[in-house]
């Protein structure tokens, strides 16, 4: 029996079931068999809250892909249902949602979460349940060590890769001192950890470390503190609004060194919010953002261009971002893994656990593929599988992203 692919936004009314289950648990019996013959992907991302700038394009991409895949007849005839739940960037909510997706919705694979703290928190849950999870967050320790994270994959470049890119750019520019300004959440913490690792063996020295709050109205003190040391470069590790605020303040204080920001601002709204102050700012990011400047032999260019076109056709000109791209890569890798598994042999769609295992195994076994964010080659040793092709250094020139390196 095939259930029509209905996106969760339009479904509700499960409260009767839940109420009955809690109140009259004795009377209830479950009928999971009715859910057969559909690939159920459970997606939990931060559509709201601190990380909404990342999570919203992810949610949009899920919606778009579900419609696309099903319009094309599903994956080898198997319809796809993406059950989306908002984590509100909150760890407790993320854990609850993933549990619900696994236990209630009986999903075959999970895509969670937008941010590293949430992704780390759900590792135990997916490992214990034996459900493959594809994280959309940066931190490398989400998938490492692989021996303890067999069920966890991820598609975004690690923050280690990003920061290494910055450090290399600094070395190439002959810069030696760096001030680090970070948002006071897990994202900022992760950046600092990776920075300390990345500068080992180089001449670069971190001279100032300052933190600021996500909704702080004022960052003058932090910026003054950073500028006082007259560093060659300033690295701002935050998301859109706060980074824009710091960039503006740096300009106000007449800072003339190189400003680096994180890939967390890789969203058109940053250009608008930061305005002129963003001129000359550099950031490491996936190549998609400068897709029209990529060289002709880049295998990523056509995939990324297609994604940008499709996304912007639905959600408007200039709205596509690399974060949606991570979601695209996650769904695509699942699609390819399912296809690969079906090629290997018959899949019993009534046996959820078997499907989960098949997808996990296929993710590792299937051949490399080109996604929006780079060329992915998942293996038993590497659950990210990206190489340096997944990273470019972009400079903001006159309110637009331009390829710098």
């Amino acid at each position: 029996m095939t259930r029509p692919a209905v996106y969760v936004y339009t479904k509700g009314g499960k409260w009767m079931r839940r109420t009955l289950r809690i109140g009259l648990a004795l009377l209830l019996f479950l009928t999971p068999a009715a859910l057969a013959q559909t690939l159920r992907i459970g997606a939990a991302a931060a559509a709201t809250g601190a990380a909404s700038a990342f999570g919203e394009p992810e949610a949009n991409t899920f919606r778009m892909l579900q419609d696309q895949i099903n319009a094309a007849g599903g994956i080898n005839g198997i319809p796809v249902e993406i059950i989306f739940l908002d984590t509100a960037s909150d760890t407790g909510q993320a854990v609850t949602n993933v549990n619900r997706l696994i236990q209630e919705e009986d999903v075959h694979v999970v895509i969670c979460c937008t941010i590293s703290a949430n992704s780390l928190a759900i590792i135990d849950t997916v490992q214990e349940a034996g459900v493959p999870n594809i994280s959309l967050a940066a931190a490398a320790n989400i998938i490492e060590p692989v021996s303890e994270r067999q069920w966890v994959f991820k598609t975004p470049q690690t923050d280690r890769l990003m920061i290494t890119g910055i450090v290399e750019d600094m070395v190439a520019g002959g810069m030696q001192t760096l001030a680090y300004l970070a948002i006071d959440d897990a994202y900022g913490e992760g950046g600092l950890n990776e920075l300390n690792t990345a500068i080992q063996g180089t001449d670069i020295e971190v001279v100032t470390i300052e933190r600021y709050g996500r909704s702080d109205t004022n960052v003058t003190a932090q910026v003054l503190s950073a500028v006082t040391g007259q560093p060659d470069a300033v690295l701002i590790w935050g998301v859109v609004r706060d980074t824009a605020l710091v960039v503006e303040e740096l300009a106000n204080r007449g800072y003339e060194g190189q400003v680096y920001v994180s890939h967390g601002v890789g969203n058109p709204s940053f250009l608008e919010l930061a305005g002129e102050a963003s001129n000359g700012v550099r950031l490491p990011i996936g190549p998609m953002i400068v897709v029209d400047e990529l060289s002709a032999d880049s295998e990523i260019a056509p995939v990324a261009q297609a994604y940008v076109d499709e996304y912007e056709a639905i959600y408007g000109e200039g709205t596509a971002s690399t974060f949606g791209g991570h979601a695209w890569d996650a769904v695509k890798s699942i699609e390819l893994a399912v296809t690969h598994a079906m090629e290997q042999g018959e899949i019993d769609w009534n046996d959820t656990e078997a499907v989960r295992t098949a997808i996990r195994d296929s993710l590792e076994a299937m051949p490399a593929f080109t996604g929006v964010g780079g060329v992915f080659d998942f293996t038993a040793e590497d659950h990210l599988g990206l190489d340096t092709r997944a990273l470019v250094i972009v400079e903001i020139v006159d309110g637009d992203w331009t390829l710098a390196r």
């Binding site: 009314g13 809690i22 559509a47 908002d86 407790g92 780390l120 928190a121 913490e189």
Partner: protein, 616 residues
């Protein structure tokens, strides 16, 4: 309504009407709840059990808030801070310092209690909402520390094996307690135990003291309750329950984040408390269940309605909070309880041994002495060098025109206001600087000009509140349900005092069913519970009808005959002239005259200042 078992069957037991049906419905509901809980781990799926565990842990926190906000009238907007403290202390001790997990939970509770004690020291002397604001600020502070003290707490990323701090699971004789099915037993076991303890507590002497706070601190102190201490005890219990929930959370998730302590979580607990019923112990369970299940549903339904993802359930919860407060203040469980037939009240065993009597006062000279007592507010001197005394066994009237300073004098004697100068002594003890509850414990009981009875409580419960200073049971015996014998004696004594003032017809009626005149008598009965040496009556005749005044006068005469000394602050001249042996007249904060009613009546100064005006 009431029937007395014939005297042949001794001891006499007074039972109330009410219906047996009401009792049985409640018993059946309780048994159904317990049966459902026993069955749940066997029949429910893992996610349902997970929700049940979340409900149980929330309910622990809410239980504390019910005590605090519902009974003691103190709100905490930082309850999550105690959850966070309990969770992090347990996790860090077990992970970093290798402490036994069970002990670490206890350590977390102790840490929370210490912090709560410090906050209480600072804020419990101030108005109630300062506690709310202080706990709110403290919640923000704790969250800030948890987020930023990375070396110890793991920072925003969280604390647990995913960030390299392996927390060992709780284990039971070597078996790790993992998975929501096993954890369910632990969480709900702890919750039901806590509910049992709190139910016991609220039926005990300390519980009565907590309930008496609802009538205001002055009333509670007038029964001899050390308001400060009782508020502190309630706050500490609430903090301990929250920390227990935190410890349980740590070992269920084995990964914790600072948001556990954040303001949003504190607000959620407050919503659960209000929805379930501010002053309802079972409401803690209901509020938590409704909140968790509703949130689950809203998160699925609302984005569809609004057409975009987002945590829109906060709109619904905000509106629910407002609407419940506006239209259903009592909350869910008390509302349902009100729909069911009333259950019979606990019977009174009138034959129970009386409470120990207060030792007879042995003073040479007057019982109460005021010497040159002065009090001013800003520039205004309300009481100026007032001196008078009350002899043992007398009825003394304190009269004066409006604004003469009578009420201020009353408040100075009872310790509600502090004295600027002069000296007050009672039964040979200097009480000038004593707190109201200390004064009350010396045998000085009072009634209130503006009635101070709990309308929803029965007569016998209202009167029982007055027994505090004559009883002894402590917190711990109250928690485990000892002290039942003493409670039986309290109720018997309350029944006797109701008989004494002539209200024993229906001791189980709600106080708000009585007319004003009888409520005044009720307050007298409550004051008599303390077996007072001196009874202070604050304008007892105000608003009474003629025949009610006659009842009151008769009662005071009877009490005097029984050896009670009475100080009567009164506006009504008839009442004072009829009752008082001696009268003290005040005007403009000073003593204008004193003497027998006849002397005062003929004093020209009094006639001019007071009686003259009155007759004009």
């Amino acid at each position: 309504m009431t029937r007395q078992v014939p005297p042949s069957s001794s001891p006499t037991v007074v039972t109330s009407g009410g219906s047996r049906v009401g009792l049985w419905i409640r018993r059946v509901l309780l048994i159904a709840l317990l049966a459902g809980l026993v069955a749940l781990p066997f029949v429910a799926d893992a996610f349902t059990l997970r929700l049940a565990n979340v409900i149980g842990m929330n309910a622990l926190v809410v239980l504390g808030l019910v005590l605090l906000a519902g009974y003691a009238g103190l709100a905490s907007l930082g309850q999550a801070a105690f959850v966070g403290t309990g969770a992090y202390v347990a996790a860090i001790l077990a992970s970093t310092y290798g402490m036994n997990p069970w002990l670490s939970v206890v350590a977390g509770i102790l840490a929370s209690i210490v912090i709560a004690w410090l906050i209480g020291l600072i804020t419990l002397r101030l108005k109630g909402h300062f506690l709310a604001l202080a706990t709110l600020a403290w919640g923000l502070v704790i969250t800030g520390i948890l987020r930023n003290w990375m070396d110890v707490t793991g920072g925003n990323t969280g604390f647990g094996s995913a960030t390299g701090n392996r927390i060992p699971p709780l284990s039971f004789f070597g078996d790790a307690i993992r998975g929501d099915r096993e954890y369910f037993v632990l969480v709900w076991g702890a919750l039901l135990l806590a509910v049992w303890l709190v139910l016991n507590l609220m039926r005990s002497r300390v519980g009565r003291a907590i309930k008496s706070l609802r009538g205001g601190a002055i009333a509670a102190a007038s029964f001899g309750v050390d308001v400060q201490r009782i508020k502190m005890i309630t706050f500490l219990i609430a903090a301990a329950l929250a920390a227990l929930a935190g410890g349980l959370h740590t070992y269920r998730e084995l990964f914790i984040v600072p948001n556990l302590a954040a303001l949003g979580a504190s607000i959620d607990y407050m919503i659960m408390t209000v929805v379930g019923g501010l002053a309802s112990i079972w409401g803690a369970l209901a509020g938590s269940a409704v909140f968790v299940l509703l949130k689950e549903q809203l998160q699925q339904v609302l984005p569809g309605l609004i057409g975009r993802t987002g945590n829109y359930e906060i709109i619904a919860f905000g509106l629910i909070l407002v609407l419940v407060l506006q239209y259903a203040r009592r909350g869910l469980v008390p509302m349902i309880d009100g729909l069911l037939p009333r259950r019979p009240a606990r019977p009174v065993n009138a034959g129970a041994a009386p409470l120990p009597a207060r030792p007879a006062v042995n003073v040479t000279g007057p019982l109460l002495v005021l010497e040159e007592v002065t009090r001013s507010f800003g520039g205004l001197t309300a009481v100026n060098r007032l001196s008078f005394e009350v002899e043992l066994g007398e009825v003394v009237g304190l009269i004066g025109p409006n604004g003469a300073g009578k009420t201020t004098a009353f408040n100075l004697i009872t310790g509600v206001l502090s004295v600027n100068g002069g000296r007050i002594s009672f039964a040979g003890t200097d009480i000038t600087r004593k707190q109201p509850h200390e004064v009350a414990r010396l045998g000085l009981a009072r009634t209130f000009q503006h009635l101070n009875v709990s309308p929803s409580m029965s007569l016998i419960e209202n009167v029982s509140l007055g027994a505090y200073s004559r009883t002894r049971s402590g917190l711990w015996s109250g928690l485990i349900g000892l002290g039942g014998a003493e409670e039986e004696r309290v109720r018997a004594e309350a029944y006797r005092q109701l008989q004494r003032v002539g209200l024993a017809d229906d001791p189980f009626a709600r106080a708000d069913s009585l007319p004003l005149g009888k409520l005044r008598l009720l307050e007298v009965a409550r004051a008599l519970m303390a077996d007072p040496t001196l009874l202070l009556l604050d304008e007892p005749a105000a608003g009474l009808r003629v025949h009610e005044k006659e009842d009151l006068k008769a009662l005071v005469r009877r009490l005097q005959a029984e050896g009670v000394t009475v100080l009567l602050v009164e506006h009504d001249m008839d009442v004072v002239m009829d009752l008082a042996d001696r009268i003290v007249v005040m005007n403009h904060g000073e003593r204008l005259a004193r003497g027998t009613p006849a002397e005062v009546r003929s004093d020209p100064a009094v006639v001019e200042a007071y009686l003259g005006k009155e007759e004009a």
